[in-house]
């Protein structure tokens, strides 16, 4: 590592905000709904459509109920943080910009082995795909780097470049910790030690794992899934793509909890995902129409 003290979790975020803000990105706030990945944020999904330029960066809390481990596994979380950057159209020096951000957070590319390893991205629930890489730092995947080709089943015209940093992994790397829960969340002061990631989130992991795996009322969730579906369709009939899309996000998260509860069989899984995809696609189509873009 470098001579200076490694960045705390919060300083990692602040440094990326500072870096991407200087590159002309609007620094947005997280979307205020439960979602599985930063890509679901309307700043990515909807803004990736249409011809208008768009440059934004934000943190997105990402919920993955099935990945919860009751706070016991040092590498896995049911809720974690993604740092998303979307640049549209993708600039010609996107890789250099990205590598600049790694330097900004203290990764020296002549000390650490940075590699772009083929990994094509696909989101079956968003009807989206792109080509790109997972970026490796000494063999660890720290970022997903994607050139969006389609979103909601529509060609991206123009193509956006999307960067998704796994913040906890990067922080573990920078701080040289073996457990997520040992990460320094903030900075120690003269009279107070730094608090850890575990201090902030471990109890959430325990309770949410119990809820997702053991307690969540599946009848209520099946019902909620149906209602979100119906509400989405109603919004689409009123040509309201944003509220429609929010219902699609809601349905997607409910589906994820049902998966964690183990009540969706392998056979049903594809059909639930297909329903969410239809909602997301319908929302994207309504968004295109609302903006007067050819579908």
């Amino acid at each position: 590592m470098s001579d200076v003290a490694p960045l705390s979790f919060q300083d990692l975020i602040l440094t990326l905000h500072d870096y991407w803000g200087k590159q002309g990105c609007a620094i947005l706030q997280p979307y205020d709904m439960e979602m599985g990945a930063g890509t679901f944020h309307t700043a990515t999904t909807l803004r990736a459509l249409g011809p208008d330029p768009w440059n934004a960066a934000f943190v997105q809390p990402s919920r993955r109920p099935t990945d919860g481990r009751y706070g016991e596994n040092p590498n896995r979380l049911g809720a974690y943080y993604q740092y998303q950057v979307i640049l549209k159209p993708s600039p010609p020096n996107l890789q250099e910009l990205y590598l600049g951000s790694l330097k900004a957070i203290g990764i020296d590319p002549l000390l650490h082995d940075i590699r772009f390893v083929e990994d094509d991205w696909e989101s079956p629930t968003l009807g989206a795909w792109g080509l790109g890489w997972e970026v490796w730092c000494d063999g660890m995947e720290v970022t997903q780097f994607t050139y969006f080709q389609q979103m909601g089943g529509f060609d991206c015209k123009p193509v956006s470049g999307e960067l998704t940093y796994g913040l906890e992994r990067l922080a573990m790397y920078i701080q040289n910790k073996d457990s997520i829960f040992d990460l320094a969340y903030n900075n120690a002061t003269a009279d107070r030690p730094a608090i850890t990631y575990g201090d902030v989130f471990r109890e959430n992991e325990r309770q949410m794992s119990t809820y997702h795996f053991e307690v969540a009322d599946t009848d209520m969730l099946f019902d909620a899934f149906k209602k979100a579906t119906a509400e989405c369709e109603s919004c689409l009939q009123h040509a309201l793509p944003i509220p429609a899309y929010e219902q699609a996000i809601k349905a997607s998260h409910i589906f994820n909890i049902l998966q964690a509860r183990g009540v969706i069989s392998v056979q049903e899984r594809a059909s639930y995902m297909g329903r969410v995809r239809d909602l997301a696609k319908g929302s994207c189509q309504a968004w295109m129409e609302k903006n007067g873009w050819a579908v």
Binding site: N75, P89, E118, L131, Y147, D155, C156, P158, V266
Partner: protein, 677 residues
């Protein structure tokens, strides 16, 4: 003569695509040259993650002028013919040349500058490049018609001799500048000509020769292992993949906690290889060592200590995941796992995997009880079949699907199943396609055969055979597996009997024809002729595949001798004559006087017929062929000395009868009419 350099620089090209891309570049370039009437003395291609390049030597600076002559109408031909010819040639009649009473149009084509040919060819090659997957990018991608490349294309170097070949594609202009290593070199590298490309890039920390990077990785990884007193587990696939991920490869040895060695070594090797692209090592006892070799893309200024430490941490996290799955899986009996198979669909029309297991268990048991598979107990076969798919619901196979079977074998052994059962669980997917090891352990053979038989019969019966290039359920592979199991183990059974036992025999004829087709493909490599397979198969009634192939081989051994070829010729001659004759009767009475050749043939037939039949009845196909061979000389002499279509009807009838006996004797062994040549 001069040399040409082309470099297409892009963002990182997937490692798996680089070798093919080199071939494609050479092919497209040579085609473009050939179309312009040019050829290079040599063409060499290069690939790294960030560039695809080509050097062609010995190119002429220009193509030769050529004069093309087109033949036109004769002097005095109708005026319409002349008008049509002139229109096509774009000439007037006084521009034509007359020679020997015929008009010719002569067009002089000037030579072209090679640079001009190349300037046209480069954009065409880029647009036509067959990447398995390609993308749009940047501002131009507002149109879906914008340039596509495997990843964004960044620059083109095109130098003919010392001069830039000027071309442009979607705003990318050719030049002489490229980039060196992403981290070891900043700023552009200016290339003078093809001759200094390789060395200038080497100075900028880029090894453009794929083979040079492979050699560094291969040798360096071995040396790193040897320096630690270990032996590298060589893996050429990993060598190539790492060469495709690096421009300046540096292999380095790392370690992991020996406690992880409790996990089956295949799991460690797989996660190291597939997820991390690491080599693994053996210790002096040939056991997996707690060490790996990773390949970095830089000469790190701390000698690689931080890189090794980082990679060790990543592998440790992966291995702790694997260890977690291994330990969790060991806590659940395979019988309990197997009950969960009811939740997994085998195919929507064919029920769950649990349903399949039930069928395979019965079939495996039956194969042993019927004596088709010898040397196993029926209980062991059924037991293995009932456990064979249970690992599909384990955590480890969920994480690493390619370990199916293998993990089941480990879990079966761990819960105290016999070796025969555990081995069968492990190996029952084998053989996976042609060239894979074919199981010989009886319990394994029973389960593997039952599994494949069930798959084939069920998909055919449900009307889902492979069509054209579509084979979504890998039935061709299953068929090859089935055939290999039967042939290599000499399993004797009528195929019809096997199929009836599956309970899904409704498409018997389709499946049989499909298997014969696969048999031809499978045997082609062994040099067995497909027409001879047809010749034996079309006799009908021969659906014991082992016997069928033995007959084919005996037939091939004989038919490819000079004597066999003569017999075949004689057969064809006889068959032709008989085809044109009417009312042939093999038992036609002999006329009072017989010529020598008739007598000799009859005597030979009298002797050969029972011999061939007797040999066939004991499956002595060489013996049957030998019996037929005794007919070769008499039949040749017969054709030589006797006129079959004699004016005397009695003589003719007898001779036709002799030929019919000859044909029928031959046909007992194989349908010679199917044999080519």
């Amino acid at each position: 003569m001069t040399d040409f350099l082309l470099e297409l620089r892009s963002e990182e090209i997937p490692a798996r695509m680089q070798v093919k891309a080199k071939e494609d570049l050479a092919r497209l370039f040579n085609d473009a040259l050939a179309k312009a009437g040019l050829a290079a003395a040599s063409v060499e291609t290069f690939a790294t993650p960030r560039r695809l390049a080509l050097i062609a030597t010995g190119l002429p600076l220009a193509t030769d002028a050529v004069s093309e002559e087109t033949k036109g109408p004769k002097v005095g031909a109708p005026p319409q013919a002349m008008e049509g010819f002139l229109r096509k040639a774009g000439l007037t009649q006084d521009q034509l040349i007359e020679r020997d009473g015929v008009y010719f149009a002569v067009v002089e084509k000037a030579g072209r500058q090679t640079a001009d040919v190349l300037a046209e060819a480069i954009p065409a090659i880029i647009r036509a490049f067959p990447w398995p997957k390609s993308q749009r990018w940047g501002a131009a991608s507002v149109s879906t018609e914008s340039l596509r490349w495997v990843r964004p294309l960044q620059g083109i170097v095109a130098l003919l001799g010392d001069a830039v070949v000027h071309c442009e594609i979607d705003g990318i202009v050719s030049g002489a500048e490229t980039m060196g290593h992403r981290f070891h070199h900043s700023g552009p590298v200016t290339i003078g000509n093809a001759g200094d490309y390789i060395e200038k890039l080497r100075a900028a920390h880029v090894l453009v020769h794929f083979s040079e990077r492979c050699a560094i990785i291969r040798d360096g990884a071995k040396a790193a292992a040897a320096a630690a007193g270990l032996t590298l587990v060589e893996d050429e696939g990993l060598v190539v993949e790492n060469a495709g991920l690096t421009e300046w490869p540096v292999p380095m040895l790392g370690r992991f906690d020996p406690a992880f060695l409790d996990v089956p070594q295949e799991v460690i090797q797989l996660t190291a290889r597939v997820n991390q692209k690491y080599f693994v090592c053996h210790d002096s006892n040939g056991k997996l060592a707690n060490a790996f070799v990773c390949t970095a893309n830089i000469d790190a200024h701390d000698g690689g200590a931080a890189i090794v430490a980082g990679n060790e941490k990543v592998l440790a996290a992966r291995l702790s995941d694997a260890k977690f799955f291994w330990e969790q899986d060991l806590k659940v009996a395979l019988d309990d796992q197997a009950t969960k198979l009811a939740q997994i669909t085998f195919h929507e029309k064919l029920g769950s995997v649990a349903d399949k297991v039930e069928r395979v268990a019965k079939l495996a048991r039956w194969l042993v009880e019927e004596g088709i598979v010898k040397g196993a107990t029926a209980d062991a076969a059924e037991r293995a079949a009932r456990l064979c798919k249970a690992d599909l619901v384990t955590g480890m196979v969920g994480e690493f699907p390619e370990l199916q079977g293998l993990m089941g074998g480990y879990y079966a052994r761990a819960q105290g199943e016999s070796d025969a059962v555990a081995d069968a669980v492990r190996d029952h997917y084998k053989p996976v396609g042609q060239g894979d090891d074919v199981p010989t352990a009886p319990v394994t053979v029973a389960v593997s055969l039952a599994d494949k038989l069930d798959t084939l019969a069920r998909f055919f019966a449900a009307g889902m055979p492979p069509t054209g290039s579509k084979d979504p359920f890998a039935l061709r592979r299953a068929a090859i597996g089935l055939l290999s199991l039967i042939m290599d183990n000499g399993l004797r059974s009528s195929f019809r009997k096997l199929l009836i036992e599956t309970g899904a025999a409704t498409s018997y004829f389709d499946l049989e024809a499909f298997l014969i087709d696969r048999l031809k493909v499978q045997q082609r490599e062994a040099g067995v002729r497909h027409d001879l397979i047809d010749a034996v198969f079309s006799l009908g009634g021969e659906d014991d595949l082992v016997r069928l192939l033995a007959r084919v081989k005996a037939l091939q051994a004989y038919i490819t001798t000079a004597e066999g070829a003569n017999l075949l010729a004689a057969y064809k001659r006889a068959a032709n004559i008989l085809k044109q004759a009417e009312g042939v009767d093999a038992a036609a009475p002999a006329p009072a006087e017989l010529v020598t050749e008739e007598l000799a043939l009859r005597t030979a037939l009298d002797a050969a017929e029972p011999k061939a039949a007797a040999a066939l009845s004991v499956e002595d196909f060489e013996g049957a062929m030998a019996a037929l061979a005794t007919l070769r000389a008499p039949i040749d002499a017969f054709f030589e000395g006797v006129m079959v279509n004699d004016p005397d009807p009695a003589k003719r009838a007898f001779r036709l009868g002799l030929l019919a006996r000859f044909r029928d004797a031959v046909t007992q062994v194989a349908d010679f009419s199917k044999i080519e040549g």
